[in-house]
Every structure is written in C-alpha cells, then in structure tokens.
Symmetry: C2
C-alpha cells in the first residue's frame, strides 16, 4: 500500500489534489479579490481572533509569512490588531466589518465549487474529510510544532 505501480504515494496524491484545489479556487475567487490561501486565512479568523503565532501553527506557515499576511490584510482594511491582554509582545488579529464582508463575497464564489466537489464525492465526503484529518495529524506528529 506504499507505492503503487505508478510510483506515486499518499503524499504525492495529496500534493496533486491540493494544487488542483488551489488552482480552481484562485480562479473562482479572483473576482472577490482574494486568493484561495487568503480566503482560508479569513475563514479561520472569522471564527475568532488569533495571534500571529497561533495562525502560523494553524496553517503551518513560517512566522514571517504570517507577518506579511497581517500587514497586507491590514492595509486592505480587512484586519485590525487588538492588544494582547497578557503578552505585550503579541496581539490578536481580528477581521474588521469590511474584512468580514470580503470574506462573505468570496464565500459566495467558493460555495458553488465546494458543493460541486461534494456532490461528486457523494456520500464519501465524510470519509475523505476523515482521511485528510488523519493525514494532517500524522504529519503534525512527524514534525512537532503543529496545532
């Protein structure tokens, strides 16, 4: 179950699927002015404000990348920095009303794609999600520092 005849493997499959998703979503979301990655970050933030560090471990990105994101989103007026109550070195990143609106606009373009993919996956959607969650967990264990 390791490598099949085609010489591929789980991680390669993951790479292909993810590239396909990013490519489709980048294009679908373009009219809303967000990339697939940005939309994902907005989606995390819409649930609750997070510190840059938390965001970094969530999305498995280096701190400097998150820093750039915050700067960019703030320049767009989509995000605001709230002082951190217990730690003066940090802060919390919160979506502004404008940011939430942008997320919603993008969401309207995202949903049809999601629905289409879900429809094609059919009742196996849940299984796929479970598989992805397990894969992520496996990877987080391999490299400490994950969520």
């Amino acid at each position: 179950m390791t490598d099949d005849a085609s010489g591929t493997n789980v991680l390669f499959d993951l790479w292909l699927a993810s590239r396909a998703a990013t490519s489709v979503l980048d294009e679908a979301l373009r009219p809303a002015g967000l990339t697939a990655d940005e939309f994902a970050v907005y989606s995390v933030l819409v649930a609750a404000p997070l510190t840059p560090g938390e965001l970094a471990s969530w999305m498995a990105a280096p701190p400097t990348t998150v820093s750039s994101y915050v700067r960019r989103f703030e320049a767009r007026g989509h995000v605001r920095r709230l002082p951190h109550p217990d730690d003066g070195r940090s802060y919390r990143v919160e979506l502004t009303r404008e940011g939430r609106r942008a997320h919603q606009r993008a969401g309207a373009l995202f949903l049809p794609v999601l629905r289409d993919v879900e429809a094609r996956l059919g009742r196996s959607t849940g299984a796929v999600r479970g598989a992805l969650a397990r894969t992520r967990t496996a990877l987080d264990v391999v490299r400490p520092g994950g969520a």
Copy 2:
C-alpha cells in the same frame, strides 16, 4: 456532511493537510537542496520526459511558473531540453543524470517521512489515496483543463 460544527469543509481540510505536508517536507528535504514542490516535479519527470504544457496540467500550475521551473532546473544542470519531434514550438523536459541523482538524494530524506505517515495511517492509507484521487478528479471536472 457539508460543513461540520467547526464551520470547516473538505476543501479546507485539504488545504490544512497539504500545508502541513509541504511544511514538513520542505524542512526534511532542505539538506538535499530541493523543496517539496521541486521534489514532486522531479518525481514526475523521473518517470518520463514531459513537455512544459503537460507538466503544467499535471501540477495545475500556470505555464509561466513551469517556465521558471525549467529555467531554474536547467541552470542547476538537473534538466535538459529535448527537441519535440512533432512540434517546433515545444520541447520535452528530461532529467539529467545529475538531476536523477539529486532526486535520489532527496528521496532518501523523503522516504522516512512517507513511511512514518503511512504507518500512522495504517491500513487506511489506501482509502486515503482513493479519497485524494477522487477529490482531484472532482476538481478537474469543475475546472476543465486538468490532466
């Protein structure tokens, strides 16, 4: 099965898993001088020479990105351009001996990670791969132009 209580979905899960994988592999492969993306491309090419266009649709990347890849890999001496027999506008990208060696060195660093992930996925590895393949297919259908 669409969105669970956490407000996430299959595509979001895919994004998280893929980011985790890239992050782990970028670090693991660094001593070999390849990124996770580059390793994946080398892996495709090690099987057979491809045209830039074929490569682009395989990895769902824009042609200009593939162009940059080829230029970079060629500068490293890892890749060579073979004239295309039937089409003077194109060519085929082939891994050189040196490129194959680099791929092998990276492969030695990649394998332990893969084995670890597979071990943690256990007998569900095959199911996960199937799920990923179906997801990719679904996405390719959503946006024509896939493999």
